[in-house]
Amino acid sequence: MNTREPFDTYRSKLSSGEETCEARVGAYLSVLAERQTLNAFLCVFGSEAHEQARAIDVKIAAGTAGPLAGMVMAVKDVLCMKGTITTCGSKILEHHEAVYDAAVIEKLRDADAVIIGKTNMDEFAMGSSNENSAYGPVKHPLDETRVPGGSSGGSCVAVAAGMATTSLGSDTGGSIRQPAGLCGIVGMKPTYGRVSRYGLVAYASSFDQIGPFAQTVRDCARVLQVIAGHDERDSTSARVPVPDYLAAITGSVDGVKIGVPKEYFNDALSAEIRRALETKIVILEAHGAEIIEVSLPHSEYTIAAYYILATAEASSNLARFDGARYGFRADGAKDLTEMYTKSRSEGFGAEVKRRIMLGTYVLSAGYYDAYYKKAQRVRRLIQNDFFEAFTKVDCLLTPISPTTAFKLGEKMSDPLQMYLSDIYTVSANLAGIPGISVPAGVDAQGLPIGLQLLGKQFDESTLLNIADFLERTHS
């Protein structure tokens, strides 16, 4: 059984009885076992998945199955699933059992998706290479000396290596789109507020958004269809109607106006990625799309604004991990302050501590105006850049990362270099707009190149349609 076959093509075999969900679960589990060195999963629900799959096969036969029946999914270990350990890739939550289900978990269950396991990630979703996990790095499926990208590296690799049909990740600064790009699959960050964050352990609340990884854009659309929509438990989730995403995929790009932001084509961008992008532009134009150069003048401040605001929020969001009520508590503390400092010093990894310190600093009395407030203003300027661009075009086509997958350890000693690898993705989180990563060939070393489409708020439909077109022109 080809475990990299998209749901879209195998689902007819399920309804005809040619294949079963249970057999698929078995196939994914065997790939998972074969490729343990990838370190994609933190926990696997083998027997539960089998049991669930059997029940779903019955439903499929009876014609009462939900829209994701037969889909076998992996979820990032930052999503709470009642009764299962939810570590967020951190030692501080090593034994933490979630006491409730995240909104998206409920929705996946209601749609009859099987959840096969929870995936490895950069600790608290902080990282671009998946090397910040307390449980070891995730490896790139095509070259295990390389990173798969992060922070949703495990969820990305689960799909890329055929251990699950689709998966969920979270994207705060590119954590879905960047690994999808580096591993050659589809990954989408929906509009901020499109998907409920209830049950997503927060890194930076005003940036975080849950989204799918998939082999194809159509599979991505199917998952998004299920998880999108307003949720009363998340005050920031939007009351915007959810359109039919599959219906939005028309196969045509005729007349679509696609912007290319000139600021994104600087020296940092690899020549091969630039060529891949130019190739796609030629194809799009040949099929009736109009390519327009646009400007996002505040792009150079993107990384600085992001790392001020996201770390500020993180410093507060992560305050609850103090050893008092749940999670890791260090032994031998003499008093309360020592309990806090020891538990947090021993429980958190280096990158998390770095970001907590950054965030604490920018919120401190005397620095708040100079950093946090100023970064908020920059955020609005960046948002306005996008809104201005979207008065001229329907979406933007950009690179996803400056380079293809880099070597494990290559950027670990230089946090700034690591942060700069997010340069093309973080702007979407600052602006709250949707973005999707689509495969666009490989470089000379055979490593996948991904491109990114950015769209107007709540216009995932346009992105899915163009991404689907690009996917099918993939040579």
Binding site: A202, R233, D322, A324, Y340, A365
Partner: protein, 483 residues
């Protein structure tokens, strides 16, 4: 206080709101459940949870803002106040910092000397309460998070007060308003109403503010007065001795009558406030404000003035009767049930309420709402006195009966045969007997020793078991003795 100095006082009052559920989750706010019973993943601060604002809290604070002449911020935001403590599960408290929902209000507070003091209200904002630590000698320090997320409003005054009396009166008025609005039970001892004071002193006649201290843990009205007096005296003594006031937070120890230093300015927290990204701005429309305004009850001062005007009551009576809304309503209902509505009967009802009703309420330790004598029964009893059916003295007995059994006064009067005797003939016959039997006293009276008049009244009333109409007894005795 030393006449050379003037104190400057500002109060921060926290009022616990009487909403049914917590500020940001659906947990009950019911008091008295077992430790950690009123909890859910949200108020426990479990990973991944999100707050959802209780709209009732907004309604309540809007009412308070309007009742204290505030301007309403139509787009206000929540902020996180960050600090570590085991009773704070998220490591931050959701509060408001910049752009609180109510600002620039004031109250006109009446002082005991009859003057009116204008006290500014800087801001009123919404926030959530923290939990509490239980120190168990044998086990450890335990955390009870039942109170976590219970909605509070914080009312911050301008530093407009100069004496402990002004602070006391201001706080009394705040309590009166929150209880009138029905948004807080106003109980300081139980912590539903809490007060912290910022205090400084300066030379009288100067404008520059002195260094202030913050005094916390003022858990009764009496403690507010005592702690302020203590702290003002301490600061003056310090300055007089050539010392300087240090900016610090003090905690009032009511048992020892002292304020102890809790932390200095250097140790003060940096709360790192920033807008809470999990909550959207609170947007209050004009229509919403107007609806809350329309639903505001009559406020205490207005009601007091109306009682003086409508019921011709002395201001003293009206003040007491309107102190608490249920009592004011009790009086007003009773007054409305009077058969003869005039200044005398209104005052009669007032006297009964202020003395007998309040005494009985206090003695039985119940609220006026549970008081067995309904306002209708009370005024029916006053009607019986007015009509001459019973005497004021008999009425005292009737009142006790009503208190014990909740029976209507007329039923008691009939059952016990307490109807007043106004039959002149019957009274006259008794009086004749008494005068005949006490010839010596009659002689004394007529010789000018008029004090014995009371003896005849007492004897007549006794003979008639207290039921004789005292006016008729008096008149007849006078007529017969003064011949």
């Amino acid at each position: 206080m030393n006449g050379k100095y003037e104190a400057v006082i500002g109060l921060e009052v926290h009022a616990q709101m009487l909403t049914q559920s917590k500020a940001f989750c659906a947990c009950t706010t019911t008091f008295g459940n077992g430790p950690n019973h009123n909890t859910c993943p949200v108020c426990l601060g479990m990973p991944g949870v999100l707050p959802v604002l209780n709209r009732k809290l907004v309604e309540y604070i809007l009412a308070m803002g309007l009742a204290t002449n505030c301007s309403i911020t139509q787009r206000s935001v929540f902020a996180r106040k960050n600090y570590f403590y085991p009773d704070l599960p998220k490591g931050y408290q959701i509060s408001q910092y910049e752009d609180p929902i109510c600002q620039f209000g004031h109250l006109d507070v009446e002082l005991n000397d009859g003057t009116v003091k204008h006290i500014g209200i800087t801001r009123i904002h919404m926030e959530e309460d923290a939990g509490k630590l239980v120190h168990d000698m044998h086990v450890d320090t335990l955390v009870d998070v039942n109170r976590c997320g219970v909605p509070l409003i914080e009312i911050v005054s301008e530093p407009d007060m100069h004496t402990s009396h002004e602070a006391y009166q201001y706080l009394s008025m705040i309590k009166q308003i929150v209880t009138y609005l029905g948004i807080c039970d106003g109980n300081m001892e139980e912590g539903s109403l809490r007060c912290d004071a910022n205090v400084s002193v300066r030379l009288r006649g100067t404008d520059k503010l002195g260094t202030r201290t913050e005094v916390k843990n003022l858990n009764s009205f009496r403690n507010v007065e005592r702690a302020l007096e203590y702290e003002i005296a301490r600061q003056i003594a310090l300055i007089e001795d050539g010392g300087r006031v240090v900016q610090e937070t003090l905690i009032w120890d009511a048992d020892r009558n002292v304020a102890l230093s809790m932390r200095s300015k250097e140790e003060a927290h940096d709360y790192r406030y920033f807008p809470d990204p999990d909550l959207v701005p609170v947007v209050v429309s004009d229509a919403w404000i107007e609806r809350v305004r329309a639903e505001l009850p009559e406020l205490p001062q207005k009601r007091r003035d109306r009682f003086v005007a409508d019921f011709h009551l002395p201001k003293y009576d009206a003040d007491i009767l309107t102190l608490e809304r249920p009592l004011a309503e009790y009086y007003e209902t009773a007054a409305g049930c009077l058969s003869a509505k005039n200044p005398e009967t209104f005052k009669a009802v007032s006297n009964w309420v202020m003395t007998d009703v309040l005494r009985a309420v206090k003695e039985s330790n119940i609220t006026i709402a549970d008081f067995p004598v309904t306002p209708a029964h009370l005024s029916a009893m006053v009607n019986l006195i007015t009509e001459g059916t019973i005497s004021g003295k008999i009425a005292k007995d009737v009142f006790e009966e009503m208190l014990a059994g909740g029976e209507a006064p007329m039923a008691i009067v009939q059952r016990k045969g307490l109807v007043q005797i106004s039959d002149t003939g019957a009274i006259e016959a008794i009086i004749n007997e008494i005068l005949a039997a006490n010839a010596a006293q009659v002689e004394q009276y007529r010789a000018g020793k008029t004090q014995v008049f009371g003896f005849f009244v007492g004897a007549a009333m006794k003979a008639m078991k207290g039921k004789a109409n005292p006016n008729i007894v008096n008149a007849l005795l006078k007529k017969k003795l003064d011949v």
